[in-house]
Symmetry: C3
Subunit: 262 residues, 3 copies
């Protein structure tokens, strides 16, 4: 039974995701379709790229990861399919796959151009249903990657890397999760390069040192820790760090986080 | 493996959907249950009928489509099961199935009255769990339609058709999707009857001509196009048409849309 | 095919649930993972315990119920796995399972301490992914309960029982569902002990007698009835009881409900 994951910005209020599942099952009745997340902020490629990068490798080998965040639907942007040693990926070629693909080995990428793997009728506004879903289903049936179209280069999405110096790291918030935790683009590996005790500054708050887990803080206190995906994260015991710091989801990307060795 | 889809107004905050899945799996361990949508506005039959009509046919033949939007639960309204050449359907007999059923061939409809296919104990407030789910599961095991009860006529839900004249069409908004796109009840077939260039008026806005896809507009501009379900849709590049026009989800149905040939 | 249900407070906006599914499928490719609910209010153990207690028994025998609501993640609280005559359960040992376990027979409970059933790398903040999910997957493959660790006592979550006298019951709201229905902790069995006609008082409203179903009330009227899980519930025909009574989800637990025989 092939596993196909879906990561989209379609939300839960429509039948867009449901239609994609129908299309997949019509082609491969035995596909095991798993919702990765459908609440990506509309057209937010960076958030989608981050959510994919931090989750895709937890799935079994040969899983087909489908991403549909597609501000350019209907325009000339390509749909691409990729195969690495371990996984398959399909998405619009807008960079949304690029952070995950950068971690993969023996990567081959093709443009999905063979209309034999499209739905017979292709709309101008829902390629997720009409091209991506059927291509994923055909992949899950074992159709070889190069049957879908010619090898292509794929677009890369600029990654907001933190600025790292010997004594300080300046990064930013990249995602706010349901608990109000601020997830930053500062990775454990960056922090390892700083020596001694560290201080974390975000908004008007100063946090001294790293905690291991949320419950370590005093109730209501902000804590900084390495989150479950390896990135520096600002949380708050029994509360929402985002609320305490006045950082809203829409403006998350402009929130800076500084780490200094003291 | 039988496919059973679920379309409800139960939302995501409760275990109502989960209980229905448990009931189905207890009867048919191998059922493949697919969420179509659970965020139908509470008791909004028109929205549910529309979402079903535009999505059900993307699923494989023999799929069992279950709809539970049931303002009359506990009263004397029937539960009906339907079989066409291609699909099965089960829902309260309040018209929610009628738009989909109108498209199907060789239709047979029965009242689900055989208590042998109910849960042993039937509550007065959750027939989705106690009658609809077990009936769907038994259908998926191959129980013939006429075992569930006698053939009946089913209720039809009045469809808000647009008024069509030679030079103009007056329709209305019928759904607002996650992207703030306004989906109207004006179908591609209606528009084909107008000749020449067309103008679309919605609220205080006037849109000249149809686009093919969202990204065709200037950033922030309203665009009118034929959406992926064949209906006229008002969108906005890099934004939400609903917000730009001040149309809220709850008042969507009162928003009129006029198309004139110029 | 083993069934594994997931009940969490992870919400829909993140990939936390998706990662758990990946981990499970990587260990047991054939697990059938069912979402019970992911919208438990963050860290609300009482709500999670209630949702589990009212739903778990609708699933097939041998279902593995996984709950991750885990305010103490990273601290010394245990992860426990339980087996009864009919079901399996895995969760942090914070009482979230205790209301369901109290209903089960031939109960055995162990601490999940055998690191051979953890992910190789265990984070400090996401034991749902690193310990609970892999343990559930191994259980689904038939690993015996006592392989996971030693038998332990489990924490019990204090249940907010109503105060019951001969002529009156004083309870409280324990959950507000999507329809704005107020679900109380007063069970049908409690009400059976009152004689004669009853009145229900909640906030400033007085409701005379029980209805059988919502549509029995006049439009807009409050109705009291025994809900589908056997608990007294305050609803409102064609509206939201919670809104009519000014009771918000966050303050639900402080809303008292009194039933008196008149």
């Amino acid at each position: 039974m092939s596993i196909i994951t879906l990561l989209t910005d379609f939300g839960q209020n429509d039948v867009y995701v449901g239609m994609m599942k129908g299309v997949i099952l019509k082609i491969n009745h035995r596909a095991n379709i798993i919702d990765l997340c459908h609440q990506v902020q509309p057209q937010n490629l960076i958030q989608a790229a981050f959510l994919l990068e931090t989750s895709y490798s937890y799935f079994p080998q040969k899983t087909i990861h489908v991403v549909v965040v597609d501000p350019g639907v209907g325009s000339r942007r390509k749909i691409i399919a990729a195969q690495s040693s371990d996984f398959f990926f399909i998405a619009p070629d807008n960079g949304v796959l690029s952070w995950a693909l950068a971690r993969e080995k023996n990567l081959r990428v093709v443009a999905v151009e063979n209309r034999g793997y499209y739905l017979p009728e292709v709309s101008a506004t829902f390629h997720g249903r009409d091209i991506v879903a059927p291509a994923a289903a055909h992949l899950s049936l074992g159709v070889p990657l190069n049957s879908f179209g010619p090898a292509v280069e794929f677009h890369e999405l600029k990654k907001p890397h933190p600025r790292v110096t010997k004594r300080a790291i300046r990064g930013q918030v990249i995602h706010i999760d349901r608990f109000g935790n601020l997830i930053t683009n500062i990775h454990r590996d960056h922090l390892d390069r700083l020596s001694g005790q560290i201080n974390i500054r975000v908004g008007s708050a100063l946090i001294s040192g790293l905690s291991h887990y949320y419950a370590q803080g005093r109730p209501g206190a902000l804590v900084a820790l390495i989150g479950s995906s390896g990135y520096l994260e600002i949380g708050r015991r029994d509360g929402r760090a985002a609320d305490a710091l006045g950082i809203e989801e829409k403006a998350a990307f402009s929130a800076q986080v500084e780490v200094e060795s003291s």
